[in-house]
Subunit: 712 residues, 2 copies
């Protein structure tokens, strides 16, 4: 999906900008944007364009793009929707590189046709288009505020990409009052061309951007976004809010897998797989945006809580368990480190309780000790307002220690709770851009986010696992089914695909005669299952066309004759190809492994336990494809019933490696065989360690015609 | 546990107060408390007590309690720990009603003995004691601030009870900056006498208290607290933060049930059963404390979101699903109601989108329409900062509408997100005590709390269900086991208890002869299970003392002889009482129902599904006893596997009524038979509707000696 075109750096560092629809009227967006560009300190060339000509804000106005002499890196299109096509055409013809189409009134109100026209027009001219229906963009790299927002954006390390205009504008205001420094803000709106993946590709390499924060309402081309995010998160943290999580996405719920895959569950799993921090609320996202640019990623897991109040210490301890922050518990070392800093009635156990009598000096003393000790990887410092504390020093103490920790590369988070002193301290620190939190719970949640990012980085590997599968054989099966006018595979075809994929099956052959059936059964070994093979008989059990658990030669003979008799009696005209003679797979742990093409994320894979676990308990996990064995194992461990595979109540461990192998092979199929849209093994029977796993039943659906053609 | 003694109103409305240890030194607690009492506007008589005499803050100091003439309702004891006993004794002898023992240095540092001494002393004198180790108390009813906190407490409707001193003091500061009005704050500290139950008993009847907020670290006499809370929540909302949730409580994990019952899971379930709103963070609790006194409880479930931004509208919609706030979805009515208030590009679907162009007038217009319509029960009003909004009117608009809604008894929550305008609006409103939130997520979470309270009240009933059980028969069994020196019941005794409880069992009798065995089997019907009965044979299966699935007379005869032969061969000296002949319970859905005495909450009952559901998936629920059938059904529905009882995959609904009956009967046993400490039916086999449920196995443990004596 990557589009050739101008270098995206020209978007973030434009040498020239034209505002088409620049207005003399101060209340108009076309004025506000120009005014923000001017007052924002942009040093490139600025060209207001308006057929009326004249001057706006002391800048001469071009009557049309033709009058603009320079090469234009960035155009802001602020004209009404009915003039938008001409404006885009004009900019395209002048060779503009990027066009921010601020104008609204397109697909968001159902006007898809005009949106497509301007998109096509831009593409034809090799011009990249943002929007339409956006508020513009800000880039600190060239001090350009080409938005109609409130202005006065503080420069810093956070890049924001937002799909919501109103929320994005309000965020600009919020970053100002919260002193969150911004490297870029881009409104992506209807995303007809430039999308999050394009922007993240630039921002991840951008030196002034420390953190990327995205507000997403819907994902298109999710597989490309996944690829970009996987690279980006290794360079810097990425935070995402995805709204609309309560709405079921428009997933083509063709298979069992599909119908279970609420798109939000998939989004969530895929973001985790990419190392993205998903925030539930704007508050949570802002907390991370404030903290992450100011701290280092911890070098280990040992966290210490330093507090002057027992109560908030306990609350923080609870929160640490909830948000998976590990508390350092080497009591002897803790005593050695903190004894000199802790009064008699305090505690050197973690939380370190400096008691209500602690002054700013006491805090600094304890924090210095924690900073100096290499085994301590991170510190949570809590201040509960007391009367004895030297209130005037609170902000200074926090600022100094934050700075010391920052220089030393050890993360620290401060929480301050109380009345006036706490409030004033927080206000002072916020103004200076020093991260400090109110609620203990939020504080720890934030550090928990940092730790989950750390763990992602530590476990990261660029390995992708695929297995050798016989793609031509699978494609041949698909072609045959398509020739037959089917969008699904028959049981026998499904088994052929499994064989070509290298996933073990219960042994099965079709017999044409009684003698053949007996011979096959003797070869496979008992117990045996027999089934009628006839395209004219769909519900085989209903007509007595199935016999289970056959233990010997005599039972095979009886069953063969009974099946033939039953089927001929029930469906006299049925064309019978023979009787299938199969190994009866012994009972094991029933699993479901599925793969399908998600509308947003492309190929994904799912895992769960068979029977009620998936259907009733919704105990299911997802990953984007491709993946490696470690990711596949993580996916398995995510389900609540995972301990059943490890063996509980005296049972043996199951053959987890064989299940992993099946997952990797299925991910290879969905990736390599575009003709397949859905594939579900249910059950995949897992046996004890060393005994493997077998695909007892498989359902395969084919892609629609386009996919089929691609595959032909 | 209720203690006779002075009327608790004398604590909250004392006519006189003595400060023992009142100090001339301004830095001392004994000075600060006196000064807070004086400056807080208390109008009763104040008696500083200090052997040095003289005057403090212009008040004459008594040298001892003997010098104090008046009857003393309230004493504040601020002396060092070593003088505390004498001070308490002095106050007791003078007939003081309540004593706030501020002094620390008792059980919190391991000094249990002295704590017990002062507690005993107070009790002997009929004086109620708060603490020790507290910061005092504030009561708006008599304007008394007997704390050493920052003073300047704003009067209002929130009562706070806190077990943590430091956190409580910081909360006083926080209530001031957040303009949360307070009716009372009580520090309970080590709780040797007065505890939460005593205080809630008063506060629930207190006219000026609208909401009760408790910070709890540990619960003693939980059964009394449960009783009080059940009454209190019908009168006003109660919010609880329970810290230390990550620590396993000191639950005597004697049985399977016990070992699973992390005390926090029990606490959580019991609070929900009492209609208490449990907050996870102080922030969440404060949000509820701000909102609840200012709004009415909604009269219905239909909520409407009114917004000027699509993005925050979607975020709020997501949050509504998460926090179980139901969005009104009668699109036609919505259109009728909101069409006049919504511009062309807006939406009258819920969320109602007034668009970014909305002014304060537009908001009021839409809010008036929502207020006027009876089907709309609650409103979430979101404001996303825009340039066009008449910012100066924001606070006024919110204040006016809040007031209108308050008068009309319809709840409304406002969320304001953005920059300076939003911040200033919020600051103005907070100062005036008008509840307004920043984050959309927190806003909806808060309304979700209100709704969960509403639902509790709507479903509330004072019914308690018990069943007739044969207590004397059960007590006889217990006596016999105790006489035998056992703290557990044998299988046969367990079955006797089940019979006395009225819970069906597989039919079972003991045969002494082969003929008798055959006769019993014929009477019970096949299949049959047989087991050796001998106290000398513990592991019956190991010695061949068990035979399963016996289908006819011949198999009974063979099995009888085989069991006898096997047992005599393996344990030649065994005294054999006979062979037990039992109905083999058919397979059903395996459930676990247990009851035990929780260290904190007294008798509780648990429910889960047998096998891996409880052990591996921890799918388990709890309730305090007594309970009614509706509560028991709620407990059943709470487990994730509940749909299995309703019937999935074509299976029939199970006999849920019989399971409910077993739960009620077991709750009756644990309530009526103090001699039993743990009882667990595992499995309780549930059959199809109308087929009942059977206790296949039961384990019963007896209470320790004290319980045994009570029971004898």
């Amino acid at each position: 999906m990557t589009q050739d075109g101008p270098d995206i750096r020209r978007l973030f560092r434009p040498r020239s900008v034209a505002v088409i629809g620049a207005s003399h009227n101060e209340s108009k967006i076309g004025h506000k944007i120009l005014s923000n560009i001017v007052s924002g300190g942009y040093e490139g060339r600025i060209y207001p364009v308006n057929p009326k000509g004249g001057e706006i804000l002391g800048i001469e106005v071009a009557r049309s793009m033709d009058e603009v002499e320079a090469d234009i890196d960035l155009v802001c299109t602020c004209v009404p929707a009915k003039f938008a096509y001409d404006a885009v055409m004009g900019a395209g013809e002048r060779g503009a590189a990027f066009n921010l189409v601020i104008t609204s009134g397109f697909s968001e109100v159902g006007n898809i046709e005009d949106e497509k026209r301007i998109a096509d027009c831009a593409r034809e001219h090799g011009m990249r288009l943002l929007g339409p229906n956006i508020f513009g963009m800000f880039s600190a790299a060239s001090s350009i505020d080409a938005t109609f927002g409130p202005g006065g954006i503080r420069h810093g390390g956070v890049a924001i990409i937002t799909q919501s205009g109103a929320l994005g504008l309000a965020m600009i205001g919020k970053t100002a009052v919260e002193s969150v420094g911004i490297s870029a803000i881009v409104s992506v709106g209807n995303k007809v061309d430039v999308d999050e993946a394009d922007l993240v590709t630039y921002l991840m390499e951008d030196d002034i951007t420390d953190v990327i924060f995205m507000y997403i309402e819907g994902v298109r081309n999710g597989d490309r976004l996944v690829e970009v995010l996987k690279t980006a998160t290794r360079k810097k943290p990425v935070i995402v809010i995805k709204s609309g999580r309560s709405k079921r996405g428009a997933v083509a719920a063709a298979s069992h897998t599909g119908s279970l895959a609420g798109s939000d569950a998939v989004f969530d799993a895929v973001m985790r797989q990419c190392g993205v921090l998903r925030a539930e609320s704007v508050k949570e996202a802002f907390n991370l945006c404030k903290l992450l640019p100011e701290i280092s990623i911890p070098k280990g897991e040992n966290t210490v809580i330093i507090t002057n109040g027992g109560g908030i210490g306990v609350l923080a301890t609870d929160a640490c368990e909830k948000f998976d922050v590990k508390l350092y518990d080497d009591l002897e070392t803790l005593r050695e480190v903190f004894d000199p800093a802790t009064p008699d009635f305090g505690s050197t156990k973690n939380p370190i309780d400096l008691t209500g009598g602690a002054t700013s000096k006491d805090y600094t003393c304890a924090l210095d000790a924690a900073l100096a000790h290499d085994d301590i990887a991170a510190v949570i410092a809590l201040y509960c307002e007391t009367a004895v504390f030297d209130a005037d020093n609170l902000a200074e103490m926090i600022k100094d220690n934050t700075e010391k920790y920052r220089r030393a590369g050890k993360p620290i988070v401060f929480s301050v709770f109380g009345g006036r002193v706490a409030e004033q301290g927080q206000a002072t620190l916020t103004k200076e851009g020093v991260p400090v939190f109110g609620d203990v719970y939020e504080t720890v949640s934030c550090l928990g986010g940092v730790y989950s990012y750390r763990r992602y980085l530590s476990n990261w590997t660029d390995t992708i696992h695929e297995e050798d599968i016989d793609v031509p054989a699978i494609e041949a099966v698909i072609r045959e089914a398509r020739a037959d006018g089917r969008r699904f595979l028959l049981a026998q075809e499904g088994r052929d695909v499994m064989r070509a994929t290298g996933i073990p099956l219960p042994e099965t052959r079709v017999s044409r005669t009684l003698d053949e059936a007996v011979a096959i059964a003797e070869e496979i070994g008992y117990p045996i299952v027999m089934k009628i093979v006839s395209r004219d008989i769909l519900h085989k059990s209903d007509v007595g066309g199935v016999a289970l658990d056959l233990e010997n030669r005599d039972e095979i003979i009886d069953a063969y004759q009974a099946i033939m008799r039953n089927c001929r009696a029930s469906v006299p005209d049925a064309r019978i190809q023979g009787i299938q003679v199969s190994e009866m797979a012994p009972a094991g742990v029933e699993l479901i492994v599925g793969a399908r093409r998600d509308a947003a994320f492309g190929p994904i894979i799912m895992f769960g336990m068979g029977g009620i676990y998936v259907e009733v308990l919704k105990d299911i996990s997802f990953r984007a494809v491709p993946l490696n064995r470690a990711e596949a194992l993580e996916m398995m461990k995510e389900i609540r019933a995972y301990p059943l595979l490890l063996g509980v109540r005296g049972e043996e461990r199951k053959d987890i490696e064989s299940v992993l192998d099946a997952i990797i092979r299925l991910s290879t199929v969905i990736r390599r065989c575009e003709g397949i849209s859905d594939i579900e093994i249910n059950p995949l029977m897992a046996y004890e360690q060393g005994q493997g796993a077998k695909a007892v039943d498989v359902r395969i659906l084919l892609s629609d015609v386009a996919g089929g053609e691609a595959d032909a």
